[in-house]
């Protein structure tokens, strides 16, 4: 197990390093610089400001300095938000994204597993078809369609829920964004669980459990379900990536002050350091979750450990 962790970390760190490198040079290849706003600065002053942040040096030297800073945990100052470091900007907005993402993950997990079990137990009957229809819709109707449609229905027409805003994370403000984020994941999770359950229901150990005379719920929850959940563990990484992508849309549609909303704006404004900081946080998050899901999979399934 320790060997596996070491091996995975050994590949994750170079990956993170390459991600930082690629993002750094791509950002710098973009035309313009952070100091070109609506107000055109005189060239001398622009040069002075560029020099203050060290942007007048050779790109490769700047890259070296940046990597050294990042290795020390220093992501530099924000270029657009005066007197704030990148870490401050990230801290302020990370909480909202985290609450949103985690709630969506939990909602998607619980709903998806429940729907998957229900569909598998009633395979090829109306309940199964209904769940699978929802699953197809969840995959085919993208977030940027469901979000405005749900706002139109529940906020504008029925007026049950607020149409946007964070309001310190009050429950009514959370319901629509979380639902929109969770829907595609519910679709995928319920499909995975359904397939796994159908397979494990046919297996010998489930037949044995039934033959022993265990009650139905015990057979389903204690014997058939655990092996059906293993594919879910390896889906954890992609699910997280999907939630991050979705949050870019959701935070924009619902005007939520999260990280996703900042990413596009900062990239367009050439706020180099903030964009880099976000890329690092997102990449590290995805790598960490992939590592975690590998470890859980290894702990659950001895075959993975051996290979």
């Amino acid at each position: 197990m320790l060997g596996l962790i070491a091996r995975r970390l050994f590949t994750a760190l170079p990956t993170l390093f390459l991600v930082i490198t690629a993002a750094f040079f791509m950002m710098r290849a973009a035309p313009g610089n952070p100091f070109q706003g609506e107000r055109q600065l005189p060239p001398e002053i622009e040069a002075r400001v560029m020099a203050k942040y060290g942007f007048d040096r050779l790109l490769i030297v700047q890259y070296g300095t940046y990597i050294a800073d990042v290795a020390h945990g220093d992501l530099g100052p924000s270029l657009k938000y005066k007197d704030k470091s990148v870490v401050d900007v990230l801290k302020e907005n990370f909480g909202v994204s985290l609450v949103l993402g985690l709630s969506a993950l939990i909602v998607a997990g619980v709903t998806g597993i429940a729907l998957g079990i229900a569909a598998a137990l009633r395979q090829n009957r109306p309940a199964d078809y209904l769940v699978m229809a929802v699953a197809v819709a969840g995959v085919c109707v993208p977030t940027f369609v469901t979000a405005p449609l749900l706002v139109l229905l529940f906020a504008s027409t029925l007026q049950w829920l607020p149409n946007a805003g964070w309001n310190n994370g009050a429950l009514p403000n959370l319901i629509l964004p979380v639902a929109v984020l969770a829907l595609p994941q519910i679709a995928i999770i319920s499909r995975l669980v359904r397939a796994g359950m159908i397979e494990s229901q046919r297996s010998n150990f489930v037949r044995t459990a039934r033959a022993k005379g265990l009650p139905d719920w015990r057979v389903v929850l204690r014997h058939a379900l655990p092996p059906a959940l293993i594919p879910l563990v390896s889906y954890l990484g992609p699910a997280c990536a999907g939630l991050l992508t979705g949050s870019l849309i959701v935070e924009r549609v619902f005007a939520l002050p999260g990280l996703g909303k900042f990413f596009v704006i900062s990239a367009l404004q050439r706020d180099y350091t903030v964009v880099m900081g976000m890329v690092i946080v997102y990449a590290a998050l995805i790598l960490a979750l992939n590592l975690l899901s590998d470890l859980i999979a290894a702990a659950l399934d001895p075959r993975v450990r051996l290979s």
């Binding site: 590949t11 991600v19 995959v139 940027f144 992508t245 964009v275 890329v279 997102y282």
Partner: protein, 294 residues
């Protein structure tokens, strides 16, 4: 050749190829057939529709601002500038389909080249090439594409390349796996014994045998690409107005949905129908080509 042999050859029943079998199974799948029909209609609409509508997609008509569907000669209504929604939706559909097909083609070419090389050469080369794919895979895709679009300005050509450049990763993985399996088969050995070069073996013997899984993946990549393009357009990084794609139409519709919900609903329905058809066809093809998966 003797007379009987000729007779035998003539009388031999035509063999059923994998593709004959697959076609039969695909046509028996109702969802896939429905998907094929809907998709064919959408393609026809995208190709011929823009020329047939009475309005141009970018014609501004100040008398028709916010025209509701079926009024003032606008079948689906008009937007805040009085532009005909039907013409714009058809234009958006053809842009989205074109992006989907072209970017998928880019990913197909790169993915096959990369995957067959890694799989066929094997060893260190394989390890290095697939490690690169792993690393790129861990890179959050969206951020990568957003950075690309920001860095080089949004143009349709660049979008083809950017999305294609990201989507080839899975293709390369699938192709590599298949190539490694095919490499040890007898017909490849025979080709090698016959003195063919690696280049010839890959092109004539490996690539044609990859087609099954590749076709399935292609039908699932196209909707993915359409989704990615629409996602970028929704964030304002995709096609530039007055050009339209389904994503940019949905984005504009979402802004004006309180006033004119039809602006959101029509492109959203077309989008959902397109994605759904591709997914049904993809699932149907997978079941048809690989029956043991069922």
């Amino acid at each position: 050749m003797s007379r009987t042999a000729i007779l035998l050859v003539a009388a031999a029943p035509r063999g059923r190829s994998l593709w004959d079998d697959a076609r039969g199974r695909l046509l028996a799948n109702r969802a896939a057939v429905a998907g094929l029909i809907v998709l064919a209609l959408l393609f026809l609409a995208a190709v011929f529709g823009p020329a047939l509508t009475p309005w141009r997609f970018d014609a501004v008509n100040k008398n028709d601002v916010w025209a509701a569907p079926l009024t003032q000669g606008h079948l689906l209504g008009a937007d805040s500038l009085g532009r005909d929604l039907l013409a714009r939706t058809l234009m958006g559909l053809s842009v989205s389909l074109a992006v989907g097909v072209v970017a998928t083609f880019v990913s197909l070419v790169v993915g096959i080249a990369w995957g067959t090389t890694a799989g066929y050469v094997g060893g260190r080369v394989d390890e290095a090439m697939m490690r690169i794919v792993d690393v790129l895979f861990a890179l959050p895709f969206v951020f990568f594409v957003i950075l690309l679009m920001v860095a080089f300005g949004s143009s349709i050509v660049l979008m083809f390349l950017a999305i294609g450049a990201v989507e080839w990763l899975t293709m390369a993985r699938i192709v590599r796996g298949q190539t490694r399996a095919l490499k040890s088969r007898e017909f490849v050995e025979a080709a090698r014994a016959a003195g063919l070069t690696a280049h010839q073996i890959v092109l004539r013997h490996i690539v044609p045998n990859l087609l099954g899984p590749v076709v399935v993946y292609v039908t699932l990549t196209i909707p993915g690409v359409i989704l990615a393009e629409s996602f970028l357009s929704f964030l304002g990084l995709g096609v530039r107005p007055p050009m339209a794609s389904l994503g940019s139409l949905i984005a504009n519709g979402a802004q004006d949905m309180e006033l004119a919900p039809w602006l959101l609903i029509a492109p959203a329905l077309i989008m959902a129908a397109t994605l759904m058809s591709f997914n049904f066809i993809g699932d149907g093809l997978r079941d048809a080509l690989d029956p043991k998966d069922r």
